[in-house]
Amino acid sequence: MRTIEAKTISEKICEMAKDANYNLNSEMINSFKIAREKEDSDLAKEILSQLIENAEIASDDQIPICQDTGFGVVFLEIGNDVHIKGDIYKAVNEGIRRGYKEGYLRKSIVEDPIKRINTNDNTPAVIHTKFVSGDKLKITFAPKGGGSENMSKIKMLKPADGVEGIKKFVIKTIKEAGANPCPPIIVGVGIGGTFEKVAYLAKKALIRDINDSHPDKHIANLEKELLTEINELGIGPQGFGGKTTALAVKIEKFPCHIASLPVAVNINCHANRHKEIII
């Protein structure tokens, strides 16, 4: 049994909150550069250049890439042989509280969805926990902006709708989202499970490496087909037209009921912020 102090978790989350908001992952910058090469329109090229310049300024000045520094979404993979000394949920929230204050990050959370009074420290986080084998703790911090989250959708399809039904729903969701989620976007798709599970899968899909493919061939093919069809929509960077509407489509699946075919589409903006560490 290995002991991890709760305060260590707070310290790590505090640093990750700043890091995720200031420093765009290098694979995202590379994907902007590749997209810029492919674009014909000057406006599309210019927008991608602005996104690259923006990432450079944010990193040099250590300021957020985007003013919407997001809802703190945290994935914890806890090894069975790890003992957390202290309250893990309190520790995560304390890390967010400190990171958002020290890092001059925007506080975007309201305490009650109806009364809408800001909590002023960006807590609470949305925390997903999973137990795994081993004696390590893996933390993924993925601050999620409101603009792209608002364009996300879920639908309970019929099994008869099949793969064509899935594609139709995903494409319709992206088309309706248009310029709102800050394209070029990353599309996370959940397929299967139950109503709540499928939304989780779509979110989980967003934290995958931008360049990977699903290990199952038929799902990997579906990711490719959807990416091609989404980019044929011509929405383009910022919705001003172009070839790059999405940079990647990531699908996660789970077994489902004989009566069901749940599908969820969780859209992320071009920043696709997420950082992970292993303690």
Binding site: Q50, E53, N54, I63, C66, G147, G178, Q238, C269
Partner: protein, 174 residues
Amino acid sequence: MKLKTPLTQKDIESLKSGDKVKLSGIIYTARDAAHAKLIELINQKKELPIPLEGQVIYYVGPAPAKPGEVIGAAGPTTSYRMDPYTPQLFKKGLKAVIGKGQRSKKVKKSMIKNKSIYLGAVGGAGALLAKCIKSSEIVAYPELGAEAIRKLEVVDMPLIVINDIYGNDIYEQE
């Protein structure tokens, strides 16, 4: 094209959807909560905390300024959430709004009718756009935090005309 606030009728008439502009001068910030408050005042026929005639509203909730900085990251928020409020503000003389994403049919009609325009800033380029902001002062609703109304002085803010007064929309062009 360079543009300076407050905007004149001539400025507005000369702009077409797809034009790139560099905006300088005073602009005001407002997003969801501030819009609700402004509309409430208009409905009660009370005085507003900011002028609207010829003015520009930027849909932004900036990140806090680091010590020594004017403002934190300050990119546009999604505009459709302001759709229920915008026509009333155009009617009161507001000449332009800055945001990102499509507007409702009602807002677009109101732009033609009131001769007001909709400008786009690059969503997610908050660090870059902050560089164009030379001063920032909260002028109303400080209790709203990031959603307070701020008076900003901007220099050469890079924008694109999304909707002009002639019914053109950059998002609907083939």
